[in-house]
Symmetry: C2
Subunit: 290 residues, 2 copies
């Protein structure tokens, strides 16, 4: 980059420790700026960028974090192979015009002696919590830490990880974390597949099968809205996904859209959620009942 260019658009700053992060946030505050925060695990796609865009509309300065959090992966899960694209992510975030990138190492987040766990037992139960024991403890703990490290005005999370969003909303309310949690709609490919860093695991053939997840959820939601039996619709959806070529279906369920309680009454906002395996990828998705 030529010197005069760099004078006009300074390179995106990366900080890797909490004191540096806090100094930068304090400077933003001192300049009278509100702060928006988008925590990510990197391997950024258009879904993440929609959160950044939303944050930029809400707040004067936007901070993104990239941290592949080991405590939310189970022992047989894909921590080692989870896609890491630090250089590309930096380029994408620079182009998006964010104000600060926080990329802590694991020993910054979990130094020697670390032991605290934040649990949100109700909302974490069932759905992805059933197949991934400890996953939401890991999510709740790392998100509590990130929010308290940054202390933003707004923190943005995608609705694609709907149960995660519910866990975070609950812990922020329960612990009085002074931040507004903002959920943003899932971004999809043209054929309906929800964007996910884990889509990178799909072969070409699997990629053609994958949109059946969204199509099936839309069918369930539509049928339930018409008054059909939820349990029957979900059973049919499992069969449809298996027929479409999914290796196995973890769950297709209808839940209360706010509390995630089972068997929601028809007058409550409802959500249809699913997880299914396709080759090496575990895909999740969810849609509202209209």
């Amino acid at each position: 980059m030529a010197e005069d260019e760099s004078a006009h658009t300074p390179a995106l700053t990366v900080v890797r420790d909490v004191p540096s992060l806090r100094r930068r946030v304090q400077a933003m505050r001192a300049a009278g700026k509100t702060v928006g925060f988008v925590p990510t695990m990197g391997a950024l796609h258009a879904g993440h960028l929609s959160l950044v865009d939303r944050a930029q509309k809400l707040a004067d300065a936007v901070i993104v974090s990239i941290f592949v959090n080991p405590t939310q992966f189970g022992p047989d899960e894909d921590l080692a192979s989870y896609p890491r694209k630090d250089a590309e992510d930096w380029e994408v975030l620079s182009a998006a015009g964010i104000d600060l990138l926080f990329m802590p190492d694991a020993d910054v987040m979990y130094p020697h002696g670390f032991q605290t766990v934040v649990r949100v037992p109700g909302v974490s139960q069932g759905l992805c919590g059933a197949a991934r024991p400890g996953h939401f403890d890991g999510v709740a703990t790392v998100v509590a830490k990130l929010l308290l490290q940054v202390l933003p005005d707004y923190a943005l999370f995608g609705e694609k990880d709907y149960q995660q969003l519910a866990v975070i909303q609950r812990l922020v309310t329960d612990l009085n974390v002074p931040v507004d949690i903002v959920g943003a709609p899932t971004v999809r490919e043209g054929d309906g597949l929800a964007l996910s860093s884990r889509n990178a695991y799909l072969t070409e053939d699997e990629r053609k099968i994958a949109p059946a997840l969204y199509r099936t959820l839309k069918t369930v939601a539509g049928d339930i809205a018409k008054g059909e039996d939820a349990a029957g619709c979900c059973e049919a959806a499992v069969a449809a996904l298996e027929a479409a070529g999914f290796s196995s279906v973890e769950y297709v369920e209808v839940r209360d859209a706010e509390t995630l309680a089972e068997n929601p009454a028809p007058d409550r906002p409802r959500r249809v959620l699913a997880a299914a395996h396709l080759g090496k990828a575990r895909l999740i998705d969810n849609v509202p009942v209209p």
Copy 2:
């Protein structure tokens, strides 16, 4: 109070909800003041007032909370009978010149749907954690909430509840809560008995026996400092307390003063801690190994 007097010393303000609390704290911040915070369960004694005094030396404005936290009491413990002295406490805190008293009701702290738990599993293990399962989860969760409600610069806790102080220090470090935790020495009666709201449960005869707890801990600490075997000293201490008239002894243990790990090496800072029952009162105390 006559009108002209009240103009000079306005009455101590009590707030009972979080938005009012935050508005008051924001006004203190806007006036450029640092904030010290002393969370209590009320029934205030000179030990609490020493924390208030310390807070006033550290910070420009001091907030005290009174909340008898139900989630840190076991089902067979003394929640119902725990001493409550709201009017006297208000008088004492007014006289001490604090700036704000926060007295939330249980439904402000734990509204419908509340479910989050903060756990500090290592430091909470053993000692009081053994006989009071769930106690330190309750403490960690309510203290996390109070700290995030107030967001003070300093929060003060007595060393009398030494394991509690260690749990709080650990959770604040682990979750990056932006506050300095300050521990303050135990305040004692002339005969050595540590001040405690639960001393009110002691009969006249029991009150004469109670100082044996501190005397015995001093003996253990002195003997260990001279190189005597820790296990042997603790066993002798249990026998001494029983001989002095304690109904039962929960534990007398030597721990690492920072991590509370068992069997600390002689070159580490060490602490002798004990809990014992005397009539209706469960008394705890601790002293450093010199």
